[in-house]
Symmetry: C2
Subunit: 254 residues, 2 copies
Amino acid sequence: MLYLAAMSKKDLKHFLLKGQDTFLKHLSVDCVIFGFHDDQLKVLLVKWVEGWSIPGGFVRKDESINEAAKRVLKERTGLDRIFLKQFEAFGETGREKGKKGFDIPGTWKSWYMERFVTIGYWALVEFSKVTPRRDWLSEDCRWWDINEVPKLIFDHNRIVTAALEALRHNLIDHPVGYNLLPEKFTMPELQSLYETILGIKLDRRNFQKKMLAMDVLVRTNERRMGVSHKPPYYYRFDKKKYERAMKNGLMRSF
Amino acid sequence: MLYLAAMSKKDLKHFLLKGQDTFLKHLSVDCVIFGFHDDQLKVLLVKWVEGWSIPGGFVRKDESINEAAKRVLKERTGLDRIFLKQFEAFGETGREKGKKGFDIPGTWKSWYMERFVTIGYWALVEFSKVTPRRDWLSEDCRWWDINEVPKLIFDHNRIVTAALEALRHNLIDHPVGYNLLPEKFTMPELQSLYETILGIKLDRRNFQKKMLAMDVLVRTNERRMGVSHKPPYYYRFDKKKYERAMKNGLMRSF
DNA sequence: CCAAAAGTGTTGCCTTTACACCCATGT
DNA sequence: ACATGGGTGTAAAGGCAACACTTTTGG
């Protein structure tokens, strides 16, 4: 919700009073950023004085909403070219319950204090490549296990839930993993990712068959050694085939 | 895009100059309203001086975006309680190419002339229950065959395409028809609806089995008479079961 | 040699598809 | 009677789930 990254304190007042010259009023973007680590699905959250929230920002007058979302992601994760998908706009009237202003004279009727409709995005990022970035205004920025997300400000808990829902639905007919896993990964790792997102256990052997049938994976000759059992092969995604599958989906019955 | 229904000419200037006191700036809702008639999928379009568009409107400061969309639908179709679903927000910077102001002094820098992000909805309505309503500003309002939609203003052609896509996708795991067909309908009619939306032919017998397996239909004792062949039964939706199926979806593999 | 877990294959069920046969109506 | 299109059934095919067996490592 807040576009306040990399802003100096003296700029804040200007932002509150003049922000509507730069940004579209009443409109924000919020990103539910998913990562995968230690067999756990994670979301990146930011802490403000008011509490934890999902990272978000405002839409500049000269950028599209998608560009705004990309910018927010870049600011928070340092990552470019990540997988990003719009999933829902949230526009209830009372959605920002508890919103607080800043203790700066003349700013209590700032554009920032007005009602906002936010456009929700979910993003998939490679956990290890991200260094969560707080800024001077936010107190903290870190990963949270999806099952341990705290009470968030406004309607952000609902947004996270809806994003997870959207991600799961996407998973049904689109391959997932390109953006969540390192370049090389083993089949058990990929399976763990799927199980974590879907929240169910899958059969090891059938999973492998289904994945290979999707025709988006390439098996390398390398294997993960150092484990006291038969070493698994490393796989990587075939970018071309992966993207084709992402586009077309894997349409089912009818 | 335009919330100008039922507005008198002298109100127009006030709307252009003071509309931002009532509505959220930069934000609109647009509805792709689908109907079904003569074995054809139809969309409701509105004609302005600038050309044809999908019906839309602005968001009042005291209403949610969903309420705004419902209001627009009510204004255009007279219908309440219709099936309405948000599917995508459109926020490219140049999306309103060709937007024209009104020939009223002092209104050329109206809030209305600024950039808008629009939230797209699709709706299903029962064709026969709708009386398309034009107002004094719009020149016309009528149904168009989905395959014969003319060049629309702004990016509305893209919005229609995306809406159809969303409707088709929805069709895959949700029953459709409750809002598109009259209360009683025959199986061939329902099939025709599905074929029209999906744009493919389906096997008559397998379609019937699949539909009945969904467990949302009830067969009545009545049959459509007056045709020179075996008369088909009338069916109706079981509201409770239908809504359960809509909610849960008919989740598939994994 | 054993435990652990990965790779590969097979079986059977269940869903989907393709198609045949009969039925009821208007002309 | 016949043309037309609806209602019902059934057999083949294909996809998916359940499960067995083999393989390869570290200890």
